[in-house]
């Protein structure tokens, strides 16, 4: 039951911290669904701090870290006068009960799955738990993100090889936030559709894909990536649609979690953020403030990886994330700052509505360039990605991807979704970057296999595509009285 207590402790930590940091921005029910994501992030940042500082990762140091963060968050509650009504408290308690039920179920049913990537990350967790920094630790650090190992490392302190409860709660967060944020989006124009079972049907279509079921119990960082990326993007979209700047820091905080799940995730994040901020709907100062912590932390972490550190990395051990690549990735979020400034120039502002098309066009130009330079590699990657999603991959993805594409074909004449272009640009930019990675990573193409990294990465964006399909189909579930806007 230690594993159950651990994840529920992370939930409580996340709930206290999230409401303390972002009081009166969103409903406490939203923070209840995202509490586990925030709690896990606080724990991960603690582990990261121990890695880059002379401190060691131990029950004592991590306990002090959690106590400090909790103390500050509780202080923020008190200073900002955070109070929950009886109705809110009851709703939050129900969400907590759902998480507790899944955690207990995961521990009792004991489903698990893993391949080499999972083994390697759990091995890293073992090293981290015992503060073993060997040549192998260095190799592991340059291939996988730090997030998953920091979460599983405490299992070694209590004599367990991993915690069976950690991964399933990320999937619960993803699915819960999908339904919450989809209903939030539908509420504006299609309240009838929001109240219908349509968002729940869509979440079942996503969750019933065997690959998503596998990610629920497998020790892959993709489960974490999918939860943080999709919920961050959907909240960002809602903030943009509602013109609500207070939601942006919450969305960026969720996307910050995404950036530490895998080594390459920052590359996916940047075009998405640029597309949203360039719309000019939300004031530049909101972006300046929201992105500042993320810029500092990514620059610090990737800079630490790039420049060598107390582990004294020799350059030759960097197989995947070379020092140059690490530095480039570390600079990506800070580079958004001059872009925000550029978007404020009068000449650029007049053309802002076309920015999503520009970003997408730029991505496609890069992809075309990669195809020209490495035709066999890139065409193999594209072909195998299609195989993974729509052909042979049906044996691990089920019919979920096929459903999304067929639904969009059927809904071709449906009223356009306001802000839908942002979602389409996000999805297409995601796949473009994913394909470019096979070029950037030094010539290994995506293979058609359920173990393929690209196939697993597709899970990060499936909820966003499902969200778009839900919005497109919403008129079918309601005779809207709101005029269509384009």
């Amino acid at each position: 039951m230690i594993a159950v207590g651990y994840v529920l402790g992370l939930w409580l930590l996340g709930f206290v911290v999230a409401l303390g940091c972002f009081p009166r921005t969103l409903s406490p029910v939203f923070f209840a669904w995202s509490a586990y994501l925030f709690g896990a992030m606080v724990w991960m940042f603690g582990g990261l701090l121990m890695m880059v500082s002379p401190l060691t990762y131990s029950p004592l140091t991590m306990g002090v870290w959690v106590a400090l963060v909790t103390g500050v968050a509780v202080g923020a509650w008190w200073v900002r006068g955070v109070r929950l009504s009886w109705t809110e408290s009851r709703a939050v308690a129900l969400v907590f009960a759902a998480f507790a039920l899944v955690a207990v179920g995961a521990q009792v049913l004991r489903f698990a799955f893993g391949t080499y990537d999972a083994v390697a990350q759990l091995r890293f967790a073992e090293y981290l738990a015992h503060n073993i920094y060997t040549e192998n630790t260095r190799i592991l650090l340059t291939r996988w993100g730090i997030f998953l190992p920091t979460l599983h490392a405490p299992s070694r302190w209590v004599g367990q090889p991993f915690f069976l409860t950690v991964q399933p709660l990320f999937m619960v967060s993803l699915l819960g936030l999908f339904v919450y944020l989809t209903r939030m989006a539908l509420q504006r124009d299609y309240p009838g559709a929001a109240a219908s079972g349509w968002p729940v049907v869509m979440v079942v279509i996503v969750a019933s894909a065997q690959f998503m079921v596998m990610l629920t119990v497998a020790f892959y960082s993709n489960t974490l990536s999918a939860a943080y990326f999709s919920s961050g993007v959907l909240l960002l979209w809602n903030a943009h649609r509602a013109g609500e700047p207070r939601w942006v820091p919450v969305a960026v905080a969720l996307l910050a979690g995404f950036t530490f799940t895998r080594t390459e995730t920052v590359i996916f994040l940047v075009p998405v953020v640029v597309v949203f901020l360039a719309q000019g709907v939300l004031p530049p100062r909101v972006w300046y403030r929201a992105l500042a912590p993320l810029a500092l932390v990514t620059l610090g972490w990737y800079g630490w990886l790039a420049t060598g550190n107390r582990l004294d990395f020799p350059p030759e051990v960097f197989v995947y994330l070379t020092p140059l690549r690490a530095l480039a990735i570390g600079l990506m979020v800070p580079v958004i700052y001059p872009l925000i400034f550029v978007t404020q120039l009068p000449l650029v502002r007049r053309r802002l509505p076309a920015t999503d098309a520009l970003v997408l066009g730029g991505a496609l130009v890069l992809l075309s360039g990669a195809i020209v330079l490495e035709p066999q590699l890139m065409l193999n990657s594209i072909y195998n990605t299609l195989q993974n999603l729509f052909m042979k991959g049906v044996f691990w993805w089920g019919a979920s991807w096929l459903f999304m594409v067929l639904a969009l074909v059927i809904l071709w004449d449906a009223p356009p979704v306001t802000g839908g272009r942002l979602l389409v640009a996000t999805i297409l930019a995601f796949f473009t970057v994913m394909l470019l990675l096979s070029f950037l990573a030094g010539g290994s193409y995506h293979s058609w296999s359920f173990r393929d990294s690209g196939s697993r990465m597709s899970a990060h964006v499936l909820p966003i595509l499902a969200f778009y399909v839900t919005l497109r189909a919403a008129p079918l579930f309601e005779r809207s009285t709101v005029p269509d806007r384009t």
Binding site: R110, G114, Y116, T134, N136, P161, S208, V213, G398
Partner: protein, 137 residues
């Protein structure tokens, strides 16, 4: 609506068919690790690949780690698992009678053999013969 029903039916059928062998962690014998459960084969595969990708991880470590990963009750096997690595096959194993062949991402082929003793697994990779389990010597 028809599309929704067809999709959910297909997804449900795939979950029941379970071609990738996702399953509950159990405590099978070591032979079962090698031949019965796809899930546990994949775990074993992961451990082996860890070794062949990064030789600093010894085969013994890789396997022990996998046993942990499968949460095998090692006591059931009569104590700690022994791993023996040799250049030649064990005398009671036919080197031409591999029961399973796995090709790792590194290109290394790992051949699994029927073990004379139910409590050991025998496999060969990179011209090394490995016998793991209770009674390995």
């Amino acid at each position: 609506m028809m599309l929704v029903v067809v999709t959910l039916t297909m997804n449900a059928a795939l979950l029941v068919y379970n071609p990738w062998g996702m399953g509950r962690l159990q405590a099978p014998t070591l032979t079962e690790l090698g031949v019965r459960s796809t899930n546990e084969r994949m775990v074993l595969y992961g451990g082996l690949q860890a070794h062949y990708t990064d030789p600093t991880i010894t085969i013994s470590d890789a396997l022990m780690f996998d046993f942990n990963l499968s949460e095998l009750d090692l006591r059931m096997l009569g104590g700690a698992v022994a791993v023996n690595v040799a250049d030649t096959p064990p005398p009671d194993v036919d080197p031409d009678a591999a029961t399973h062949i796995y090709t790792l991402d590194t290109g290394t082929q790992v051949l699994f053999f029927a073990a004379p003793d139910n409590d050991v697994i025998v496999f060969e990779g990179n011209n090394q013969w490995i016998v793991a389990g209770r009674g390995a010597s």
